[in-house]
Symmetry: C2
Subunit: 147 residues, 2 copies
DNA sequence: CTCTGTTGTAATTTTATTTATTACAATGAT
DNA sequence: ATCATTGTAATAAATAAAATTACAACAGAG
C-alpha cells in the first residue's frame, strides 16, 4: 500500500511557492495547473500547510508564501502536516485478536515497539532533508535546461 | 495513510505457525480465529507467504509450516511478500505534472531519489528484525503469564 | 461601493483499495 | 468414499483518495 500522493503534492506546492515567490502570485489555480489536479485539492493542502505554520495564505487578494526559511522546513514537517495518521502510527495492527490465544493476546504489545522503531528511522530520515535541499536540486536542473 | 493491516496479520500468522508447530495443526480456520478475521483473508496471506518461500502449506491434509528458521526470516522478507507496491515504491508521486512549469517538469526526478532513500532506511530497519526476535518477546510474555 | 479574483468550505461523485463474505472445486490422508 | 482443508473466484461492504461543483467570505482595485 503506497503512501498517498498528497505528501508529494505538498512538496511540489512548497517548491512552487519558494521558486516563484516575488515573480508571480502563487494561487491555488496556478498550483493546480503545475501539479495537474483540481484547485480544491490544492486549497485543502494549503490549509494543512498553513495550519502547521509552514505557509501564509492571503485571503481575498490571493497568494501563498513561505513562513519559514526553506532550510528550516524539513520533509518531516511537511509529512506530519499532511498525513493524518491515526494515533500517529504508520503501521496498522488488526483489532481484537483472540484473547484465548497466547499469540493473539500478546501480539499487539510485541509488535508495537518494533513498528514504532521502524517508523522512527523513517521519520529521522525525513527530518534530515529540507525543502532547501529540494530547491537546490531543482535549481540545478532548471539552470541546465536554460541552454 | 496507514500501511494496511495485512503486514501485521502476516506477522501474527507466522508467530502462530512458529509457536504451535508440533503442538497442533495450524489451519487457516485456527489462524482466522486467533487473528479475528475471515479464513479466506488468512488463506490469501498464506498464499503470499508461500509464494515468497517462507512457509509450506499442506493441501488436503491442511496445516502451515515454516520453511526457514525463524532467525532467517526478516520483517523485510515478510513485508515484501505481503505488500504489493507498484514499482516497489513506497511513496506515490502525482502523475502528469505540467511540462510548462519548471517545477512540474523536474519535480519527479528531484523527489524520486530522496523518497527512495527514505524507503531504504525503513527497509534496512525491517531487515534488521527477524521473526525470531518477535518469538523471543512473545515467549517472554507468555512465560510471565503462566503464573 | 461595487467589481473582481481569490480563498475557505461544504457537499457530492468517482475511483480505488481494503476487508469481509459466500461458494465450491481440488486435494489428500484415513 | 468421506472429510477436513486449501485454492480460488466472485462479490459485497467499508473505507479512503481524488476530483468536481457550488458558493459564501474576503480584500484590494477601480
Amino acid at each position: 500500500m503506497q503512501i498517498s500522493s498528497r505528501f508529494t503534492v505538498a512538496l511540489h506546492v512548497l517548491a512552487c511557492i519558494a521558486t516563484f515567490s516575488g515573480q508571480k502570485k502563487v494561487t491555488s489555480v496556478f498550483l493546480a495547473e503545475s501539479v495537474n489536479t483540481n484547485a480544491v485539492i490544492i486549497r485543502n493542502i494549503l490549509l494543512q500547510l498553513k495550519a502547521a505554520g509552514l505557509i501564509r495564505v492571503d485571503r481575498g487578494t490571493g497568494g501563498a508564501y513561505l513562513k519559514q526559511p526553506a532550510d528550516e522546513i524539513s520533509l518531516l514537517d511537511v509529512y506530519k502536516a499532511i498525513e493524518p495518521l491515526e494515533n500517529g502510527k504508520l503501521f496498522r495492527i488488526h483489532e481484537n485478536p483472540s484473547k484465548d490465544c497466547p499469540v493473539g493476546r500478546n501480539i499487539y504489545e510485541v509488535l508495537d515497539g518494533r513498528l514504532s522503531a521502524i517508523q522512527e528511522v523513517m521519520e529521522l530520515k525525513l527530518r534530515s532533508m529540507s525543502l532547501a535541499d529540494i530547491l537546490a536540486d531543482l535549481n540545478d536542473r532548471i539552470e541546465e535546461q536554460k541552454d
